[in-house]
């Protein structure tokens, strides 16, 4: 009974985090983008700096009519948002935010593989949406999504493998336990490759050609309205949380910090995640969109060789210090 209660409580906490953090990031994105672009953004809803705009957006989405195009493949079309969103909930279960048993939803033995595998599944949601919409722009978006996945998955996996080699384990808490401060310069190339490949996986600018609104009208999500579209947006923000959390855990030492590591570890994790999320937003307002072929070129001629070089470096140092 106690075990069941424990599991239920963990699931509940992870679920609440899953619902809350993406919204926080969404609101931060509104505000940060407004300030960086020298505009105000929505300022009236709720009073202070338009804090309730997010609530208003949610109400708006919930009120809209749920339309399925006449020629669409109904079931696949309706299933796609769930396939896009749920994997991130599962991934969040495995990310540790502090030392000890209580600070992770579920300890997964092969944590890195679990996380990367399940994140890859969420791309299927975009593909299903792109195909089932019976819209050529959606199909183009789906095609670009697939091509992008095949390009970035390899460097992401290689960069993660480098950390796993350094730590001698594939469990996420195990990796953070093994972390030392000098891993930061040692694994910096891997960290950059991982982060850039992760941005491409999330289809965030500058890698947002699968949804490029000015070319293919939001790609796979063209035909979606109301709550289902909101679910896709939520998936994007949940993806930012997951990517930043993972980069923190794998490369930035998770709960390790200059001081206060006992007891305050989770603050460090959240702080690092928040800074990375800010960088994600910052990149969106700073860089123009790449073309699809430019991403392919970046992935195959730069990221993959860099990741391989990082693995070689990791191996050499690992052998040298043993």
């Amino acid at each position: 009974m106690n075990d069941a209660l424990d599991v239920a409580l963990r699931l509940l906490v992870v679920f609440v985090v899953f619902l809350a953090l993406p919204l926080v990031i969404g609101q931060t994105e509104h505000k940060v983008m407004a300030h960086m672009q020298g505009r105000l953004g929505p300022m009236y809803a709720g009073g202070f700096h338009g804090w309730a705009q997010l609530v208003a957006d949610g109400v708006k989405f919930a009120q809209k009519e749920d339309i399925v195009p006449a020629d669409a493949d109904r079931r696949v079309f309706q299933l796609a948002p769930a396939v896009a969103l749920l994997p991130y909930l599962l991934v969040l279960l495995a990310i540790p935010i502090g030392p000890g048993e209580g600070a992770v939803g579920e300890v997964v033995d092969a944590g890195i593989f679990f996380v990367l595998a399940v994140m890859g599944v969420s791309v299927l949601g975009s593909l299903m949406a792109g195909w089932a919409s019976a819209n050529k722009f959606s199909l183009l978006g789906g095609l670009r999504t697939a091509a992008q996945l095949l390009a970035y998955e390899l460097p992401m996996l290689l960069a993660a493998a480098s950390v796993a080699m350094a730590a001698g384990t594939v469990s996420l808490p195990g990796i953070v336990h093994a972390f030392e401060w000098w891993w930061l310069p040692w694994q910096i190339v891997g960290a950059l490759v991982f982060f850039v490949a992760g941005l491409a996986e999330l289809q965030r600018p500058p890698f947002d050609m699968p949804v490029a609104d000015s070319e293919i009208i939001f790609g796979a999500y063209t035909e979606y309205t109301g709550l289902r579209f909101a679910l896709f947006l939520l998936a994007e923000y949940a993806g930012i949380v997951v990517l930043c959390g993972l980069t923190t855990v794998l490369f930035l030492g998770g709960w390790h910090g200059p001081w206060g590591a006992d007891g305050l570890g989770w603050v460090w994790t959240l702080l690092k995640t928040a800074v990375l999320a800010f960088v994600v937003i910052w990149l969106r307002v700073s860089y123009p969109r790449l073309r699809e072929d430019q991403l392919q070129k970046l992935a195959w001629t730069l990221l993959v060789p860099l990741a391989l070089a990082q693995i070689a470096l990791t191996g050499i140092v690992k052998v040298a210090i043993n």
Partner: protein, 218 residues
């Protein structure tokens, strides 16, 4: 493999894990059958996801966690995406495609049945009375790694050579197409020639125009 205990066990008092194993197996089998019998091409690929995912759950139930996640990573995450990419790139009509059937159905059924019979016979013959003790995990990353790289290094390396040969073959095939001069050699970038060059370089597009703001204008 020395992990199997030979304790007296029977089929008549199945444990919860065994019942779950059989149920998931039935789902997997059903999804696999639908995959090859459905007349909608993309639905076949999506049912394949269910079948491959079911297989991953079976691995999990046998406590082979590492293999399970690699199964999801490689098959669901990459192979199916490649399949869908290929389908979308060539033709992926919504609805039935009755012309997708070739006349090979009897031959295919025969081959499938023969392969299934051979596999079942081999597995039953090899592990007839052995039971795996599932109370402690048997397939952790640690165990899998040491068994793979201590006892099975030679097959592992042979497989690597096989994959390398396939890779070289793929490169050779694509190069031959390129020298013939038909079509674009750049198969990896389907819209390399998309006419978006004109809209490039016009400053920070896509900034502030995605997300909720974008939906507002529609």
């Amino acid at each position: 493999m020395n992990v199997a205990a030979t304790a007296p066990q029977g089929f008549l008092s199945p444990t919860g894990v065994e019942i779950a194993f059989v149920l998931v197996g039935l789902v997997t089998l059903g999804a696999a059958v639908v995959t090859v019998t459905t007349r909608q091409l993309v639905h076949a690929a999506l049912w394949l996801v269910v079948a491959l995912g079911g297989l991953a759950v079976e691995y999990l139930l046998l406590t082979a966690e590492f293999i399970a996640w690699v199964q999801v990573l490689i098959y669901v995450g990459s192979i199916v995406v490649l399949l869908l990419f290929g389908l979308m790139l060539t033709r992926a009509p919504i609805g039935r495609s009755p012309d997708a059937d070739s006349g090979n159905r009897p031959v295919a059924v025969a081959v499938a049945l023969a392969a299934a019979a051979a596999l079942v016979w081999v597995v039953v013959d090899a592990f007839r009375t052995q039971w795996i003790d599932l109370d402690q995990p048997q397939g952790t990353t640690d165990v899998t790694g040491s068994i793979l790289f201590r006892h099975w290094v030679l097959p592992f390396e042979a497989l690597s050579v096989l994959l390398l040969a396939a890779l070289v073959g793929a490169i050779v095939l694509s190069r031959r197409n390129a020298t013939r001069g038909t079509g674009s050699p750049d198969a990896g970038s389907p819209d390399a020639g998309s006419p978006d060059a004109g809209s490039r370089g016009t400053g920070p597009r896509g900034t502030g125009s995605r997300g909720a703001d974008d939906k507002e204008q529609r």
